[in-house]
Symmetry: none
Subunit: 266 residues, 2 copies
């Protein structure tokens, strides 16, 4: 796998600035694993920008615990240990409900041939639970690892805001910065509030280029068995290909999928 002239993909300083020792250690593992071969301490220093003793300690810890092992002989690089392999296998095997949701998403995406995502609201920002891109060349690039979006300017975000308990919704509305991203972004609290009311009534939310010019979204609620809105299922596409009007036609299908997804929780 991978590996070229420059030994490691250098995601660098991100790691060094990580506060928690545990996450730092985990990030080191990620670098090591992505290298796809034995890696020396010096290489890891370069790739992670972590101090030498810190790295050494971390690696020794993992070696002691069986997560890592070392090459025999002179320049002993670190390799993946048996315990880490077993762990990885268990991770892949513990699909369960995640596989179901992913499968449902996949079906929707292939039916409507547009990118779909499943998102929740966490501490006032929108977080993707899963996301599946349709095979179009023109794609919205989303930061790796479930990057958070501001909720006031995307369909899922507005939908989830709208269905918050009244008090919580009120509190968030006052707190949200309502930053402007395009000329269509809603930056007025009163306007946003009536938009949210409208969303509750019609049962879906749209984002008409409010976050990125040329990108429109439609989101429908995912409910648990009690009827609470717990997540949002959304379709997203370039308006050049998918004008909002056409996206809205997908709502019945989205709703059906949302119902299925809802039943995979709890």
């Amino acid at each position: 796998m991978s590996s070229g002239v420059l030994p490691l993909p250098t995601e660098t300083a991100e790691i060094a600035s990580e506060t928690s020792s545990t996450l730092k250690a985990f990030a080191v593992l990620e670098v090591l694993v992505r290298a796809g071969r034995a890696v020396t301490l010096a290489e890891l220093m370069q790739a992670t920008e972590l101090p030498k003793p810190t790295l050494h300690r971390t690696l020794a810890l993992f070696e002691e615990a069986g997560f890592l092992a070392r090459e025999p002989g002179g320049r002993r690089g670190y390799i993946i240990g048996e315990r880490l392999s077993r762990f990885a296998l268990d991770v892949l095997r513990s699909d369960g409900a995640a596989a179901e949701r992913r499968t449902i998403l996949r079906r929707v995406v292939s039916e409507i041939t547009e990118t779909c995502n499943l998102a929740v609201l966490k501490k006032g920002v929108l977080i993707y639970l899963d996301r599946l891109e349709a095979p179009w060349p023109l794609r919205l690039h989303v930061p790796e690892g479930g990057g958070a979006l501001p909720p006031h300017c995307c369909a899922s975000g507005k939908l989830l805001l709208a269905h918050l308990p009244a008090a919580e919704r009120q509190r968030l509305l006052e707190l949200l910065p309502l930053e402007r991203f395009t000329e269509r972004t809603i930056t007025d609290r009163a306007v946003l509030e009536s938009e949210l009311d409208r969303i509750v009534n019609v049962g879906y939310a749209v984002d008409n280029e409010e976050y990125v010019l040329g990108v429109a979204c439609v989101a429908v609620p995912v409910r648990n068995r009690h009827g609470d809105v717990i997540a949002a299922l959304a379709v997203q596409g370039a308006t050049a290909r998918l004008p909002l009007m056409r996206a809205i036609e997908f709502i019945p299908r989205l709703r059906a999928a949302a119902a299925e997804i809802g039943s995979t929780f709890g």
Copy 2:
């Protein structure tokens, strides 16, 4: 995949007595992952005997970093996050045993002079852990980066579906789109189901031009020491050169190699 009346396999006190916070955190992940389903804080407390705030802190950390995620709604269990899932795949593709497996694969390929591959099911789709082409001019081009295949139309996919835990298999069968690729693709749920039963009985699976016209595959299970099916080893070839009948003759060799490969997984 265990999980029954008693929620978790309780390796217990080992973890609580672990000195390093990082290893403790890792052990928590191991427990969570082995459960094979969403796990609550309370369950983890019982299984790890760690104090509540400690666990909470650890889990929140992982959630923040994208290694874990939570089920939305009321009783929010922890599930495996996107980042951890990706990490696991990277591990399996480059661990020390991967080299060993590749050696075994290489031998099989040179023995039978046909392309072989090793695959697992991840979130309901087939992913190659490794793949080695035989030196024939006519080859099936496979997208880089272990592109995912739909499981209902390839030998490995059907084999792995067949050996899923009954409940999970059932749920997935209902959800899979069963897209048609050739006139031989199985697109009927009932037919697929009886095919899966048949596969469990005979111990191997075939793909008779169900995905690509002119390409046939035969897959046998790779089992860990407990007998669980964890991967599939398959041979694949152009039917012009390798009619299904001849491919089936390779099964004994594949089985032998699969046993070897199985022993390289913990």
